[in-house]
């Protein structure tokens, strides 16, 4: 559980791995925008986007089983989409032995296709870019320094907080705590409170450590190789596909 984000990295030295992070982040974001605005009826547009994602994942070095396992993470979020055809109104069609709403089927398809394509694009980014690189990329993309610092600190201390939470849970289980019902949630709530206080105190200690090394309120800008024009051009080919597919989808449907 601890350090989950570290395991998202797919080890390798593909051209996507070595690309400057800001180009990858921008490309991922724009690609997802392209996918999101594609009309749902333009099924072939999603197929084109899907091929792009599949090729990128293969280049990034994802193995098939590994990719499927990671896509599974999106399932809880799209689970409700499968209910829509049953509850939506409008013209009914027969699928297998169910009578479902045509409109609902389209809605499910829309959510599922876009969620999976968005996840795929994010997996390419997450699989090829270590977190510190992502943070640097955000800085290069002129995301406000304060936001970048918050993201950096969050990732730096996420592991520690998760580990601390796991230790607390172990301590509870070790004393026969076995919550099954809502009214047994009180210890969990106090643990969350304790976590908050501990994190706050850690924040104070980190701040003291920063002051001790001459921190005056602005994070220093550290050396970093900017993306070359060639990298930008290569990265932007990816969102070009999804945006073009979206535009064509609008024109043809």
């Amino acid at each position: 559980m601890a350090g989950a984000h570290r395991h998202l990295l797919v080890h390798g030295q593909s051209p996507i791995h070595t690309m400057a992070p800001e180009a990858k982040i921008a490309a991922t974001f724009l690609f997802v925008v392209g996918v999101a605005v594609t009309p749902r009826e333009a099924v072939w547009a999603f197929v084109v986007d899907g091929v792009v994602v599949a090729v990128l994942m293969a280049v990034a070095g994802y193995r098939f089983g590994q990719a499927v396992a990671r896509f599974a993470a999106v399932l809880p979020f799209v689970a409700f989409a499968f209910l829509i055809p049953f509850v939506a109104s409008g013209e009914q069609v027969d699928v297998l032995w169910f009578s479902v709403s045509r409109e609902g089927l389209w809605a499910t398809w829309n959510i599922l296709a876009k969620a999976l394509l968005g996840t795929g694009a994010s997996l390419v980014l997450a699989g090829t870019t270590p977190i510190p690189e992502v943070v640097r990329g955000l800085g290069r993309l002129r995301v406000p320094a304060l936001v970048v610092s918050i993201v950096a600190f969050m990732f730096r201390y996420l592991d520690l907080i998760v580990e601390e939470m796991a230790r607390m849970r172990t301590a509870m289980v070790a004393r026969a705590h076995d919550p099954r019902w809502l009214w047994q949630a009180k210890p969990l709530a106090s643990a969350a409170g304790a976590m908050f206080v501990r994190s706050y105190e850690r924040g104070e200690r980190v701040h003291a450590a920063m002051l001790s090394r001459g921190f005056t309120g602005t994070m220093p800008q550290l050396e970093h190789r900017p993306a070359s024009a060639a990298e930008w051009a290569a990265a932007m080919m990816v969102p070009m596909v999804s945006l073009a597919a979206a535009a064509a989808g609008f024109a043809l449907t």
Binding site: G3, R6, P130, I131, P132, V135, R136, A152, F153, F155, R156, Y157, D159, L160, R202, R205, V206, A208, A209, M210, L211, S212, R213, G214, F215, T216, P220, Q221, L222, E223
Partner: protein, 252 residues
């Protein structure tokens, strides 16, 4: 020669709390390695946070290498006093080791090339050059401690203050830390209740109790005074006799 650190009559109380430091005075000569001993709650960490002005001076005076601790000198004082915190995770907050070590030099507004050479030099001094591109939370306890020290060394301090440097280290990590600290030609104030570590590293020891200095002398003598140790809730490990430890034994 100007002493590295002069602390005169420093008292401190947290708001609505008891007095933590009570007329504490201490002088450390340049180049000396001094152990600051005391039980938990004796005021050691509060004292340390005064040395670079993280806690504001309520009364008394502190001078670092001749420079008084005052608002307008705060930047320079923080460069001169290198503070290594008890929990290395609190100190290593940047995404990579290299960036963390560069944090101090960058705050000093040094040119980029100078920053890079400071980082290389500091990492080499703690034998952590190979860790430069690692993320701090992937390091072992001993590695974290060494990198935290590198982050401070990169500011070229005059005085190194280490708060419980051996806490959480395994015996090998502790050994490496002792070797590292002996190899650094710097004035050092080692806050600890690890008495064998103090004996090994520091010729002089100071015992703090209830926020004031209650004993100050050569470490072997301090550690041989069992009544003094007991009165200050300090204990030697079972079977450890400081009188039979020779320096050769301690470091070999």
């Amino acid at each position: 020669m100007t002493p590295a650190l002069v602390v005169e009559d420093v008292s401190f109380a947290y708001p609505r709390g008891p007095k933590v430091l009570d007329h504490l005075s201490l002088t450390v000569a340049a180049g000396q390695r001094v152990a600051l001993l005391g039980a938990n709650g004796a005021g050691k960490t509060t004292f340390a946070l005064h040395l670079n002005g993280v806690l504001e001076l309520q009364s008394g005076r502190i001078t670092v290498n001749g420079l008084p601790l005052q608002e307008q000198n705060l930047g320079e004082i923080r460069r001169r006093v290198g503070m290594v915190f008890q929990n290395a995770d609190d100190q290593l907050f940047m995404p990579s080791v290299r960036e963390d070590v560069a944090f101090g030099p960058a705050n000093l507004k040094l040119p980029k090339e100078e920053q890079a050479s400071r980082v290389a030099e500091a990492l080499a001094a703690v034998e952590a050059t190979a860790l430069a591109d690692r993320a701090p939370h992937h390091l072992s306890g001993g590695e974290k401690r060494r990198v935290a020290i590198a982050g401070v060394l990169a500011m070229r301090p005059d005085l190194l203050v280490l708060d419980e440097p051996t806490s959480g280290l395994d015996p090998a990590g502790r050994r490496e830390l002792a070797d590292l600290l002996t190899s650094l030609a710097l004035t050092q104030l080692v806050i600890t209740h690890d008495l064998p570590f103090a004996l090994e590293l520091c010729p002089r020891s100071v015992i703090v109790s209830a926020g004031t200095v209650v004993a100050d002398g050569p470490t072997p003598e301090i550690l041989a005074d069992t009544e003094l140790l007991a009165a200050n809730r300090l204990e030697l490990p079972f079977g450890f006799d400081p009188r039979t430890v020779r320096r050769g034994d301690a470091t070999g």
